[in-house]
């Protein structure tokens, strides 16, 4: 059997541990698709795979147990799903499957189509971003979440987008019930204070979660017509230095979000180590190499942030460094209490 694994992977199939057997990876930007495509996925799984479907960690589907020789047929079957999920297929003919798999599915929480806390339509923005970045092979993870609850865990992605609203108070509708102040204190960051019977918002503290708006019985608090976003940067999992993404911009607008994503792809293309294994180098490690300043220079190129936006500086990441044994604690114990080794020396 002669198969170009590079080509196979780019076509969104996987080299599995069973020789000659692959799995098909179905991209679902924002994790939302019409139910009818589930039937299609079922059909592929039952006809070509082993009858099971995996829900992937990034909201796609993986259909395992497909013999290599069935890939052309699977690709033909996938076409309606590719069309239905709005995937940009540029670079590959119809009926020949996905044009790339490197750049990760844009994942998103359920968003404001369903969730009362969400500050924007995460699905729509995920689909919009997917149009901007796909097809591409660069290994970038973009994560969208509707509000600062961050159910989608954006800080584990390279670029995290967290919805915000700027609460607006119509003081003449305020009846001093205190619901917003209590909600902000107990569920958020305690950014409201009662001044002359009415809430006063500390915009420095405010994280734009909208709890005050949801709590207000009288629509004294409403949401800004503008949708805002907190952008977090360069969180990651993996074998070297897993870490949480840090705040980059608070109160960014959608145009800036998209522009920064474009810029980031250009930066990666420019600086990626062509010799990296599989041609894949994680963006965070590229930034470690070029320095954060250089990345920011690229990322903010032609970005026109709204006046309200706040850019964080400097950006500092922490996290765990397996190679240097930098843990939250320096010592490890066996279950019986004996010390494994004392790392405090090495860490210093």
């Amino acid at each position: 059997m002669d198969i170009n694994t590079k080509e196979l992977k780019k076509n969104a199939f996987r080299v599995t541990k069973v020789r000659g057997v692959t799995s098909s990876r179905v991209r679902v930007p924002g994790g939302l698709l019409k139910a009818e495509y589930l039937g299609k996925i079922q059909k592929i799984a039952e006809r070509y795979g082993n009858g099971t479907v995996n829900l992937t960690s990034r909201q796609g589907f993986e259909i395992p147990g497909i013999p290599f020789e069935k890939m052309p047929e699977v690709n033909r079957e996938l076409q309606t799903i590719i069309d239905g999920t709005g995937i940009n297929q540029t670079g590959r003919a119809r009926g020949e499957g996905y044009p790339a798999a490197g750049t990760r599915n844009v994942s998103a929480c359920v968003g404001n189509r369903v969730c009362p806390y969400a500050c924007y339509d995460t699905t729509a923005l995920a689909q919009k971003i997917d149009k901007v970045i796909f097809p591409d092979d660069l290994h970038v993870k973009i994560v969208l979440t509707g509000c600062p609850n961050d159910c989608q865990k954006v800080r584990m992605g390279d670029i995290g987008i967290m919805g915000m609203t700027e609460p607006r108070l119509d003081p003449e509708r305020c009846v001093s019930c205190g619901a917003c102040i209590r909600a902000c204190r107990s569920k958020s960051v305690d950014a409201l204070e009662k001044v002359h019977f009415r809430p006063e918002r500390d915009s420095y503290k405010c994280i734009g979660c909208g709890e005050c708006v949801n709590a207000c019985p009288n629509l004294a608090w409403t949401r800004s017509p503008e949708k805002y976003f907190r952008i977090t940067l360069l969180g990651r999992t993996g074998k070297k230095n897993p870490r949480m993404g840090v705040d980059f911009i608070k109160w960014a607008d959608e145009d800036s979000v998209i522009r920064i994503i474009r810029n980031t792809y250009e930066y990666v293309r420019h600086y990626i180590n062509p010799d990296s294994p599989g041609g894949k180098e994680h963006i965070g490690y590229i930034v470690d190499r070029t320095g954060t300043e250089e990345y920011l220079r690229w990322a903010l190129k032609d970005v026109h942030l709204p006046d309200i936006a706040e850019v964080y500086t400097p950006l500092n990441w922490g996290g765990i460094e397996y190679a240097h044994n930098k843990y939250f604690g320096n010592q490890r114990y066996h279950a019986d209490g004996t010390i494994v080794t004392d790392f405090s020396e090495k860490t210093r």
């Binding site: 924007y120 003081p171 305020c174 019977f197 019985p217 009288n218």
Partner: protein
């Protein structure tokens, strides 16, 4: 006098009104709802006929036209007080039958329960009412059960359909404007709801004894005492006073009244720390019996007009009509308990 008017002909009347009135009507605020990308429909001054929301019931009631959420009573500078000015213009209010019936309830408290309220009275004299017809029942309303589906004390009725307006004018000058604009005369009866999906029955034997029923207990935990039901209610009249000042020294400021809710903490607090009705179930009982028992005992007719707004807005899906319909059971429970003693 009945008329059928085109949009343009109705626009002539609207312009005529605007010379004399601020026109308050249900208005849609795109994106102005509580949740992201939702609209709000609430009362506001409208400048054009197209701004009037004829389809969807306003989430907040007509009462904001006379009892705004917050109203300045007077300004003070040291011991000198200066009365807040009345609205400069008369007000014309677009409202549905249930709300028009609610006007009578509001008048009952503000004009007839003790001396007339100065601030209400000076606005009340300058109100005119245009009743929006209801071609179909709204989802949670129970106006037919409350007898509020056929309000008649309007200055004009209006039904908007198929790009034209059917109007029943009771003001000669308005009729004249319509006639001059070329509106055709027509025998017009406003659209009425004759049946609701929701029906209620207030038991004949209802007394405060029902307060002893266990029916209220569930609301201790279900209700979150947010007060939405009161703030949207077209018949809730309560307010609290607030003094605020503009300068650091506190010599210059204002006294205002803001809408109050008997469901919200602090409503019954007296100086020194005592308060009544700590449990949400007790508050629910208090509110319910005001709406369907004690107001009637005092004034001879039910307070609740069955507009259903409290049901529409409750974030915990507590249905007021459902509570009314459980009163009979509640009375039975109390009576059975008493008779078994």
């Amino acid at each position: 006098m009945g008329y059928v008017a085109s949009r343009e002909q109705f626009g002539k009347l609207f312009s005529y009104w605007k010379k004399e009135y601020d026109i308050w009507a249900p208005k849609r605020f795109p994106g102005g709802g509580r949740f992201s990308d939702t609209d709000a429909v609430r009362y506001a001054v409208v400048q054009e006929p197209d701004e009037i929301e004829f389809e969807v019931k306003s989430a907040y009631s007509w009462k904001e036209t006379v009892l705004p959420p917050s109203e300045t009573l007077f300004y003070f500078a040291q011991n000198h007080v200066e009365e807040a000015m009345p609205p400069l213009r008369k007000r014309l209010v677009f409202l549905r039958s249930c709300d028009l019936e609610a006007v009578r309830r509001m008048d009952q408290i503000y004009m007839k329960n003790g001396d007339p309220d100065y601030y209400y009275a000076r606005k009340r004299d300058n109100l005119a009412f245009v009743m929006i017809g209801c071609p179909a029942s709204c989802e949670n309303g129970f106006c037919v059960s409350m007898g509020t589906n056929a309000a008649d004390q309007y200055d004009m009725s209006i039904d908007a359909a198929d790009g034209e307006f059917r109007l029943d004018s009771r003001r000669d000058d308005w009729s004249a404007v319509l006639a001059a604009a070329g509106a055709a005369e027509l025998d017009v009866k406003p659209c009425r709801v004759s049946e609701n999906k929701v029906q209620v029955r207030v038991p004949e034997n209802l007394t405060f004894e029902v307060g002893k029923s266990s029916m209220w207990d569930q609301y201790d935990s279900r209700c979150i005492n947010c007060g939405r039901c009161n703030f949207v209610c077209p018949t809730c009249t309560c307010f609290s006073m607030q003094d605020m000042y503009y300068d650091a020294g506190g010599k210059v400021g204002e006294r205002r009244r803001v809408q109050a809710s008997c469901m919200v903490d602090g409503y019954t607090d007296v100086a020194g720390g005592a308060s009544y009705r700590k449990k949400n179930g007790e508050r629910m009982r208090f509110k319910t019996l005001h709406k369907v028992l004690d107001f009637k005992e005092r004034f001879g007719y039910q307070m609740c007009v069955g507009c259903g707004r409290c049901d529409d807005i409750c974030p915990e899906y507590i249905s007021f009509s459902n509570i009314i319909n459980h009163l009979e059971e509640g009375m039975k429970e109390v009576q059975d308990h008493d008779s078994s003693k």
